[in-house]
Amino acid sequence: MSPAPGGALGALEASGLGQAMRQWLWLYPSVETVHLVGIGLLFGSIVVLDLRLLGFSRNISARTLAKHVLPWTAGSFLLIIPSGLLMFTAHATEFIDSPVFALKMGLIMAAGVNAALFHTITFRTADVWDSEDMRKLPPPISARIAGAVSLLLWISVIACGRLLAYF
């Protein structure tokens, strides 16, 4: 609750930025709002693609959809990361001790690995399975798994973020 002394994280918490985050009346809620808008953009953009990979809305090309939504997904990190770092600064020693925070970071990395695997392997062959004829069939199992895993991971990340307030 109060800043812990010592250590780099203690110093981060005690810094002017950390103090401002805790003590300025409207800064923390504003930063939280930016984080939430970012999460909305991230999750919203990624869900539509994940659902497409699961086999919904096959009249839409997965490649066209990805080209439209993924820049927004990437852009959402411009909102999420700075605001997340600011909130971390306010309570760094508490976050680093929290198993929920560690789990959240681990899940984000897992979601990144899942996306990277999908884009380097399955999405490379999209001109085959995403062609107009092949779209009558469900996407390949690897695409469906990538979509399901992505959904589950990002929902879990959001749940961890919320649970941080309660653990």
Partner: protein, 113 residues
């Protein structure tokens, strides 16, 4: 099957978020203590005071500062040395900590939940 899967995925966080911030505190053991503020933080996420009550000094968790200000409990009122009465619930696991339902200070009662 697909619809079921999607419904299941979206129901998950609802079940998890039923957990609430006040559940750490034992609301069956309301305490009403008068003492002196030793130290205070008018801070996010929750304001807090170190509170010397007869026989024990407590860490008291208050409300977010924006809420306290809106309800008329400004920073100056929580100065060290101020006498206050706190109605609160003890933390189930941390014997030194309690969370305040309301605080009475300078003759003014401020609800904190």
């Amino acid at each position: 099957m697909k619809k079921l899967l999607v419904a299941g995925i979206f129901a998950l966080p609802v079940a998890v978020s039923a957990h609430h911030g006040w559940s750490e505190y034992d609301t069956s053991k309301a305490l009403k203590l008068t003492g002196k503020i030793v130290e205070s933080g008018y801070e996010h996420l929750h304001g807090h005071i170190r509170f010397a009550a007869p026989g024990k000094t407590w860490a008291v968790v208050l409300a977010p500062p924006s809420r306290m200000e809106r309800r008329g409990l400004d920073k100056g009122m929580l100065k060290p040395g101020a006498i206050a009465t706190v109605e609160s619930y003890p933390n189930r696991d941390k014997p030194e900590e309690m969370r305040a339902e309301r605080i009475i200070i300078n003759g003014k009662t401020v609800e904190l939940r």
